[in-house]
């Protein structure tokens, strides 16, 4: 793999950048793979990378019906944090967080992971209680998270309205300082490039239209463009389309696909140097390195695969933002878009075996999948390599919905992320 560096840039500038290598090959698929991963988003590509890197399984194909990282990977608001409430989730997201730290160097691709802190503002006593509970739990889980009072918060985030005359005055906030955000495209591309370098076949414009299943065991997948591709194990990591793939395999998931919208302002000079989210007034915002205010909207209440949501959601979201940051009233919204999020009833993902032998699903990340990308890929790779879940992934089996051992993060997750 061609090494990237500032010196490299200089060197290539002398030859007018005519000699850069391809970031990944464009292979035609083999007939048979050890592992086929359906879905070339961040999670799928990370899975492929860790399969090759940590388990030495390189006869792997990633099948992507469109282009790599073209789904939620490039539509999310790039927030990374690990301050989840329940031990199971905390372990999962902290595992991911530790992979984020140093990811740029590991992939030799700058994913611009920026640990600028993520704040959850509290506007009611109930908010304060749940955040204090969160902070206390995280402390014991070994995850950094702390409370700051309104006065301190005002000092740390001058543009945030911490005054008493707000409709729901901010009483305080919890902040995870190791949290922050990253460059979403770079994460997908960085994993793709690294996986490709380890021999993984990344097959774009390759749509899976059926699954080859005989006596309860999967042997391969049928694709629109290349016919049947055989595999010993198949991992499905298709987020919003998980329900569709599950139907191909003949089962249902406790998952619904909903539109989730986001929007950005025009680029403005530095305004907000951290990430602020409010579960109570329902909005969250950060500012990109380009200067856009990146704002996450809420989820629509109905199933939607159209990558479009309702305008009302945009209105409510911006109301919340202007309530929290009054000085954004004259700032202008540039663009909005939508993704399809697959959400579980308990707002926790599924990393699991399925009723079909050798077929595994990684889905249900809901509104919070981006932060989970490295951990998700790392654990799912383990599952695909061993044929059984990694201990951290075990609680996230589909079985939990039968036994009732849900991992209900609604309380802590509140609105998106």
């Amino acid at each position: 793999m061609q090494k990237y560096s500032g010196f490299g840039l200089f060197k290539h500038s002398l030859t007018h950048h005519e000699n850069w290598q391809r970031v990944w090959r464009n292979p035609t698929p083999k007939k048979k793979y050890d592992v086929i991963i359906i879905g070339g988003g961040g999670h799928g590509l990370a899975t492929a990378y860790y399969l090759a890197k940590e388990h030495g399984i390189t006869n792997v194909a990633v099948l992507e019906k469109g282009h790599l990282g073209g789904g939620n990977a490039c539509r999310n608001t790039t927030i990374v944090r690990s301050n989840y409430l329940w031990d199971e989730s905390a372990a999962l997201y902290e595992h991911s967080m530790q992979l984020w730290e140093g990811l740029a160097q590991e992939l030799n691709y700058n994913v611009m992971f920026s640990q600028r802190g993520v704040y959850h503002t509290c506007h009611t006593l109930q908010d304060m209680r749940s955040n204090e509970r969160l902070v206390a739990a995280n402390r014991l889980q070994g995850i950094d998270n702390e409370m700051v009072d309104a006065e301190q918060l005002q000092k740390e985030i001058p543009s945030l309205d911490c005054s008493k005359n707000a409709r729901y005055p901010i009483m305080g906030a919890s902040v995870q300082r190791r949290a922050g955000n990253a460059r979403h495209d770079a994460v997908a591309w960085g994993y793709a490039r690294a996986a490709d370098a380890l021999g993984v076949d990344l097959i774009q414009s390759c749509e899976v239209i059926d699954m080859e299943i005989s006596d309860g065991k999967i042997t391969g997948v049928k694709t629109k463009q290349y016919g049947v591709l055989k595999a010993d194990r198949v991992g499905c990591v298709v987020a919003g389309n998980s329900g569709v793939l599950a139907k191909m395999a003949g089962f249902e998931l406790p998952v619904e696909s909903h539109p989730l919208q986001a929007l950005v302002s025009e680029p403005i000079k530095p305004f907000l140097d951290t990430v602020v989210m409010s579960n109570h007034v329902h909005g969250y915002m950060s500012q990109s390195d380009k200067g856009d205010l990146v704002i996450g909207a809420g989820i629509d209440g109905w199933v939607g695969y159209g990558q479009r949501g309702s305008y009302g959601i945009i209105e409510h979201t911006i109301q919340a933002i202007v309530e929290m940051f009054p000085c954004t009233s004259r700032v202008r919204m540039n663009r909005q878009w939508g993704g399809i999020v697959d959400a579980c009833p308990d707002a926790s993902p599924i990393i699991s075996e399925t009723p079909i032998k050798n077929l595994f699903f990684n889905c249900g990340w809901g509104t919070g999948g981006f932060k989970g990308t490295p951990g998700s890929g790392n654990l799912f790779a383990h599952t695909l390599a061993d044929g059984k879940p990694h201990p951290i992934a075990e609680p996230f089996s589909i079985q939990r919905f039968h036994t009732g051992a849900l991992i209900d993060e609604h309380g802590a997750a509140g609105v998106a992320h």
Binding site: N241, G243, V244, K247, E252, L253, P254, V255, E256, S257, G301, W302, V303, G304, Y305, G306, R308, S310, Y311, G312, P345, F401, H402, T403, G404
Partner: protein
């Protein structure tokens, strides 16, 4: 934004309604007889159809009545609205399959 034709109040904005999720999921007569798996299937599993999905909606800020809707989850077109306790007819389409899909 969806524009929904309430069977009683006529076409109104989506903001006046709530989506109650998948339709035709009836509460089991005697839950006690169900295994944990069967019960969780009733509680949690979703058809989550990409295509025509049958849903329950409620005109929350109007007449507060529940009704069913057949809606395409990609184009967001509303194909039919029909009363609780009945199945859609949508003109010419093969209802059986859709309903089977729903009950599967």
């Amino acid at each position: 934004m969806l524009r929904i034709n309430c069977p009683f109040c006529g076409i109104r904005d989506e903001e006046e309604f709530d989506c109650g999720g998948e339709a035709h999921v009836t509460r089991p007569e005697n839950p006690a007889n169900l295994s944990d798996d069967e019960w969780s299937h009733y509680l949690f599993n979703k058809v989550n159809t990409k295509g025509i999905l049958l849903e329950r909606w409620r005109h929350t800020y109007g007449c507060r009545q529940w009704f069913n809707m057949a809606r395409h989850t990609v184009s967001h077109e509303i194909i039919e609205i029909y009363p609780m306790g009945s199945f859609p007819s949508f003109n010419g389409m093969n209802v059986e399959n859709v309903v089977k899909e729903v009950e599967a």
